[in-house]
Amino acid sequence: MPTFECDVCIVGGGISSALLAQKLAELRPGTSTIVVEVGDRLFDTQRRWQDRLRSLAYGENPWPGDYVEDQAAAGVISRSMAVGGSALHWGGVTNRFSEEDLRLRSMYGLAVDWPLEWTELERFYCEAERRIGVGGEPGPLPEDKRSEPYPMQPMPLSWNLRQIKAWADKSAIPFWGTPQAKNTVPYDGRSECRRCNTCEICPTGARYSPDETFRRLLAAKAIALHDRTLVRRLLARDDGKTSQIAVAQATHRDRPDDPVEYRARLFVLAGGYCWTPHLLLSSASSRFPGGLANSSGTVGRHMTGHAFVGAHIELDAEIYPGMNDQHSLISRQFFRCAADQPYVRHDFRIWESSVGREPRLKSDDGRLLMGDALLADWRARAKRGTARVRAYYDVHPSAESRLTLDASLKNRFGDVMPNITHQLDAATEARVPATKRHILAQFERLARANNARILSTSESNYLDHPAGGCRMGTDRSASVCDSFGRTHDHENLFVVGAPTLPTGGCTNGTLTFAALTLRSATEVARSLA
């Protein structure tokens, strides 16, 4: 059996893994680090132009082969499984959470507090923004004060967003450009954004992508990358006083009959909100019947994220769909909620849209449209513009919001696959109707501001930007790890990124996952000393 020994074994190859490996290589040069990832490495940057064009022309996967067919979870939000993880095709939105997210219990009597201070997290937000390269404009609200400027100037607002901002400003809700991990100037050896409008596969490298970090680490021989290798189980060594992870058992997808072992001083699980708790639960043994790191019984619980309400609004504005529909406006006006008011917290985003302005085959009276008639109909409807609005609102998971092992789902090796079912806590359930009314009232407020009308509304039937499953905390009986991600039960086992979040905030989570991981990296490095 091939056995690999190293200082640090990182399980998973997404954005948290990339940033952790990068920082470890800086803090502890010479550390032997192995990253184990079940998916492939898709490093052919030349091919991205071609794959992008095939995606546009045929709807083909712009990242061919970025999944493992039978490594599938029920209730998962993305099948992406490759070196780079879900962030291969992320939109690059890098909003921060707010201090309220860390103080829900002490400020509002809701959910739990996070076990770290806002000022501490803010420091690592700055570091994450520097490492991945974020362009943004500081918001006007004093609560959003930053300790460092954005590393890059903001993405300029397109003509469309300028029109929409002028319209939105009449509502007296302040909006500004969303910060993004896209280069507005050449940065970190990557080119500036060219507004290709396909950020899910950025052909220029202007949008941060973790695979690039891995490529550089490999070129510098700072890590070893074992792709196509599935870590299926961790084994703990327990002397009665302390417990440590001794071995990660794995299988290379091309050599299923020849298992692989990894032995390391430290193990770091960076498999995201789904596969990290899944691995811990799958590592159950007679000594640890509930799985590893699970003396609290909370592994796979408190699966979180945020819900949303959206709408399309028709407005009097000269909008040219397709200028840059990946960029949006944001307002953080509703990130805060006075303690004596009903609890409602949400972000507020606006994008250009072509909804209601697309070419169509039939007129309102059912007449078939072709040729000149179709073009005339399209032009007539294109005279007004459309904005897409969305508010992610804060919801809190119950302990029954779970990732469980589902014996009806198995991969090719017979391993039981996960099933995720979100469930909100009672306080959240009780306030959701009022939250939705509040958000719809804000949409109406926007619409009324300038002879606009709401074309349609929609709401989520899932939690977006999912996280949780190994929540951090100071209470060992109610959490899996401490604020650095070190598990309470096994001193050489860390969990990083999305799974550690106790609650999911009310805006995109990736920057928070990255900031927490970078903070974990300092502790991982210290542990190696």
């Binding site: 071609q50 095939r54 083909e60 290709c196 220029t204 072709m370 032009r379 977006d464």
Partner: protein, 184 residues
């Protein structure tokens, strides 16, 4: 990137790819007589405003698209779309049948009669909406889907050089798109 440049790049890419990726081999071309019929269909389903040259270009690009269609290719799953799917079989054979079904006299019909024949065929095929990209519903509606969802048609509709998906750069994007040059 200029629109023509993008189209040239697309054509070059489409030519280069199939040999690299071994997917199911199928006939993905139309016979010469079918292509001539398709050009007659284009006369009635594409706008007069783009002229003969524009319609010829649209049909040529549609044929290139069809030629390099790959059955069984992975489709975009991405974030929020966890279901894995593959592209359907090539619509080429179905297209040939549909062109044939327009009738032996279709090439000799007056334009108004051809309009009626194409409308009847689309209705008979049960096509209810313009697809985001050709989906095999009917070759006439698929040609419309191909053209009207194109970068070029978007520019024609708005009479502006929007250049959707064409990597235009940051400079100047805060300005209103320039008007289309006359004749486009």
């Amino acid at each position: 990137m200029k629109r023509r440049t993008l189209l040239q790049l697309l054509a070059a890419t489409l030519v280069a790819l199939p040999a690299r990726i071994g997917l199911r081999a199928q006939s993905t071309t139309l016979a010469a007589a079918d292509v001539e019929r398709l050009r007659l269909v284009a006369e009635v389903v594409l706008p007069q405003e783009i002229g003969i040259a524009g319609r010829t270009r649209a049909v040529d690009q549609f044929l290139t698209w069809l030629q390099h269609y790959r059955a069984g290719a992975e489709t975009d799953h991405g974030y929020g779309f966890p279901r894995l799917r593959r592209t359907a079989s090539s619509p080429a054979a179905k297209y040939a049948r549909q062109l044939h079904d327009l009738g032996a006299t279709f090439p000799q019909m007056a334009v108004t009669a051809r309009v009626g024949a194409v409308e009847a065929a689309i209705t008979a095929a049960g096509v209810q909406r313009l697809a985001g990209r050709p989906d095999g519903g009917h070759i006439a509606s698929d040609l419309m889907a191909f053209y009207f969802n194109s970068i070029e048609a978007n520019d024609v509709c708005y009479r502006a050089q929007i250049g959707r998906d064409t990597c235009r750069g940051l400079n100047g994007s805060e300005n209103r798109p320039a008007p289309l040059p006359r004749g486009l």
